[in-house]
Symmetry: D2
Subunit: 134 residues, 4 copies
């Protein structure tokens, strides 16, 4: 399993007229944690795009439990629990003041610059393999 | 069944460095169509909030097929297919140039100003009932 | 003088916890009107980028008079009042319910794909000249 | 003089199809630095709103020099250089890799919950006075 914890301080721009964080903004926080996880795996996003790889979101699923508010510091945990195949599933959990705010996941594939599915870079596969030993 | 079609012209602010619409922004478009659907049902969001009702998103699920680009005009279809109970499920389909971009759904509940679940307003129930005759 | 009027219906995502439109979002509306103005001048943004031109914002100035709220329909007027030279100045006025919400301007230059300043396309200059006859 | 330095790591959601940070997003970063400055002055925004104060943006002015890119870490400096009167002017400078990206300022006033101008809280005036001794 690979896991990454990121702290996000809620910005005013992220709130809406209900006084809480707008529901679409949690997806951008998932991405912040996901990208830090890639970096921790030795695969910073900038390097991947330089190599011609993209990792678009194929599917996103979010379950909203409690809203975050302006000024809150939210803990975003991203995890890869299943050994990635052609598709990579990343699971998320967000917490604030010891309460769960949100759970969810996103599904990804590696594509080339023309959007066609390709194998992930060998270096990435190798790096992940160390975390998913049979 | 209740159905609402809305057209959205992609704004530059909605794109990202991959040259396409950022994946979280589709959720905001779902909401635009959902709110127009409520209005068509005689229940504009402003009226609901004045009456003390809120309809937070409990769950969101999006399947991304093809990305929209700057300048595209995207057709967003929101539908209520199941007779709403305590929870309301809204299904979405987005299309551009006769191709499906995205399918998904959101799940909602009526809550009062303190965030506690309450029955939807009688007027809304009545308006919906006309669309879901047994 | 060139002038363009655009109507924007405030989306929920554009509001903040003060219950009004977040102040940075007006800049994106300015752009919507600016791009429609370019289109009306026979120079759609997509065409400009295809030709290798970009028109970055060099300067932005906004004076906030009254906030827009969710559900408001805002009239955004973009104008080119001065004959463009190397730089193009676009002035804005936003109105809602017969009241002025905002005035402002942005300053732009034509640059090539490497970000270097270049002359605007001949077609654009010609199209503008018709509006600024001496 | 009061000065506050904040570091912001560019998020993917903040980029646009030109491959750089969308110009409106710098305004949200100004706010992040401004709010941290208020906090350092003993006047966290949450406390101000609890006391019934709001500090809306009356005017914003940004000069764009160089764009930030995804993954950049941007230094945002917010400063109050003039002793605040009824209006408070905050100046900004953003830097990345030792180059200036942006300069600008915002103008603010204290208003009550009905949007009417009021005197800033005594505690805030006192805290500021220590930085602007005659």
């Amino acid at each position: 399993m690979v896991s990454q914890k990121t702290e996000i301080k809620v910005r005013f721009v992220e709130t809406d007229a209900m006084g809480v964080v707008y529901h679409a903004n949690y997806l951008a926080w998932c991405e912040v944690a996901r990208i830090e996880m890639l970096e921790a795996l030795g695969m910073p996003y900038e390097k991947l795009t330089e190599l011609g790889y993209h990792i678009p979101v194929l599917e996103a699923h979010l379950c909203y439990k409690r809203p975050a508010k302006f000024g809150d510091t939210v803990e975003v945990i991203a995890k890869i629990c299943e050994k990635p195949s052609v598709r990579i599933r990343v699971d998320y959990e967000m917490r604030c003041n010891k309460q769960i705010l949100l759970t969810g996941h996103t599904l990804h594939a590696f594509v080339n610059s023309r959007g066609l599915p390709i194998k992930p870079p060998a270096e990435f596969v190798k790096s992940l393999r160390n975390h998913f030993k049979d």
